[in-house]
Amino acid sequence: MDLKDYKNVWVFIETARGEVRNVGLELLNQGRVLAGANNEKLVAVIIGKDLDAAAKTVTAYGADEVILVEGEEYKDYNTDGYTNAMVKLSEKYKPAAILFGGTIQGRDLAPRISCRLKTGCTADCTDLAVNAETGDIEWTRPAFGGSIMATIVCSQTRPQVGTVRPGVFKKAQPDDSKTASIIREEIRTPAEEIRTKLVDFIKSAEEAGVKLEEAEIVVSGGRGLGKPENFAIIKELADVLGGAVGASRAAVDAGWISPLRQVGQTGKTVGPKIYFACGISGAVQHLAGMSSSKIIVAINKDPEAPIFDVADFGVVGDLFEVIPVLIEEFKKIKAS
């Protein structure tokens, strides 16, 4: 493998029913920085069906080039089809790096692809930079539940592959006047090579509403809520603010709320504008999932709770007295 043959930064663009997910747009913005450092192009790669709108979106968000692979077999995400397409593209165009969102899909796909390409993969990064001397990407990520940060390089093999947490990088301002060259690649995956079949989707009623990972406001409840019914006030506060409901693991373990709502090392990672931690002590594993939030608000009756060490606004008090007043006040603001 001659490393010099490998050029350009690719961003895998995840779509959901044809719509581009935010994390891909965030990665385009940071990918621009990485590509710029090595005088390379920024390329968006999209796999799916009917992708014209998605191609427009990534162009407005700054991709120099867009590679599209379209086909009926890519309508729903599947590991085998998407891996086949990405590996073929990578072998043909030889990118220096491929960035994926650290989502359920990205974390299923990236290791499979990197393994087939016999290259390294760095998971769940929270920072990306280019080493000025070597031109290698420096992938920084938390490990051991967030108690340590590690910077990782993949210097001997290409492409450099990694997944990046949603919410850590900001999107650029879209500019509809931008243009990009669009490349359509015809890559087929025979039906018998797609070994998993999506047969149904169980949408739990509880999960309706704003998506946790993409929410601008997240209101989370923890063990301090005391019992499942009390999640109602968390939901009410989230609704008033147009935000999503999250939870600590203690609340999930107690069976008060769905595991899909867990924020933290082993749950979802969120990076909203405001994160409300209500009745949550702030264990390091919880912080691992929300410390990239812009503003953290904590409501806890224990003044010693570690959550106060990271909170921008820390209210010491009983959440059952504080939250109802918040709901009333936010309602008033909304009405005015």
């Binding site: 390294g120 993969c121 539940g145 590690a150 990782i152 169980i202 503003i295 010491v316 007295e321």
Partner: protein, 263 residues
């Protein structure tokens, strides 16, 4: 059904509180080692399937000699056979190298219908090894399984998703990684612990895995390399709000958020 579960022995991250400021590494002394929590869920899922429809459960781990304790713990909660891969040539392997070694061992140990992993190990938190084992073995993968059913030679999985569960079907053999909500792992009994203590742990070294090129394993053979480690950036604490009454505190918070143009 013959099943194999990959389990990793990890330091209990809940007990890791400090970093050594001189070396910027974690102080691991005195930190207990445990079976990575999701691997316990993977094992429990396998044992439940065995109880329902017969078969066998093999547990496999790569790690130092000490990882035998973790494997014994697995036997105490239902595994039939335990294998440890240990060799200094494998120490410091990244996920690509680790998965290639585990896959080579799996091939040697038998023909398994189902291979289970945790969704991620709680030290590295990567979640790579499961999909990579699947790739090395040329098998299909289903990650983030919250429910597993076997219908003949078909596996039906509820896969965790953003706003619900995808129901995914695949023909066995398959590699599956599991999330915590799939089950509640059982506890060992005094009797099962004593029995497990006496159980034999099979050991494999690099010499037993001729397919593995040791130039591609260990710290030096891995494609990724840790350049440095450091303490996470501290987020300073901001404004503390504690007025006479909780209601007043709430009002002050709202006022501050409005002032900062956050709402």
């Amino acid at each position: 059904m013959d099943m194999l579960v990959c389990i990793k022995q990890v330091p209990d991250t809940e007990e890791i509180k400090k970093m050594d400021p001189a070396t910027n590494t974690l102080i691991r002394k005195g930190v207990p080692s445990i079976v990575s929590p999701y691997d316990k869920n993977a094992l429990e899922a396998a044992v439940q399937l065995k109880e329902a429809q017969g078969g066998s459960v093999t547990v496999l781990s790569m790690g130092p000699e000490q990882a035998k304790d973790a494997l014994k713990e697995c036997i105490s909660v239902g595994a039939d056979r335990a294998v440890l891969i240990t060799d200094s040539a494998f120490a410091g392997s990244d996920t690509l190298a680790t998965s290639s070694i585990l896959a080579a061992a799996i091939k040697k140990l038998g023909n398994f219908d189902l291979i289970l992993c945790g969704k991620q190990a709680i030290d590295g938190d990567t979640g790579h090894v499961g999909p990579e084992i699947a790739e090395h073995l040329g098998l299909a993968q289903v990650t983030y399984a919250a429910k597993i059913e076997i219908k003949g030679d078909i596996i039906v999985v509820n896969k965790e998703h953003d706003d619900g569960y995808e129901v995914i079907e695949a023909k066995l053999p398959v590699v599956c990684t599991v999330v915590k909500s799939i089950n509640e792992p059982r506890y060992a009994t005094i009797k099962s612990k004593m029995m497990a203590n006496k159980a034999k742990i099979e050991v494999l070294s690099a010499a037993d895995l001729p397919d593995i090129d040791t130039a591609k394993t260990g710290l030096n053979g891995s494609p990724t390399r840790v350049l440095k480690t450091f303490a996470p950036p501290k987020r300073g604490s901001g404004l503390r709000i504690k007025e006479e009454t909780a209601g007043e505190s709430a009002l002050k918070l709202v006022q501050k958020l409005v002032e900062a143009k956050l709402v």
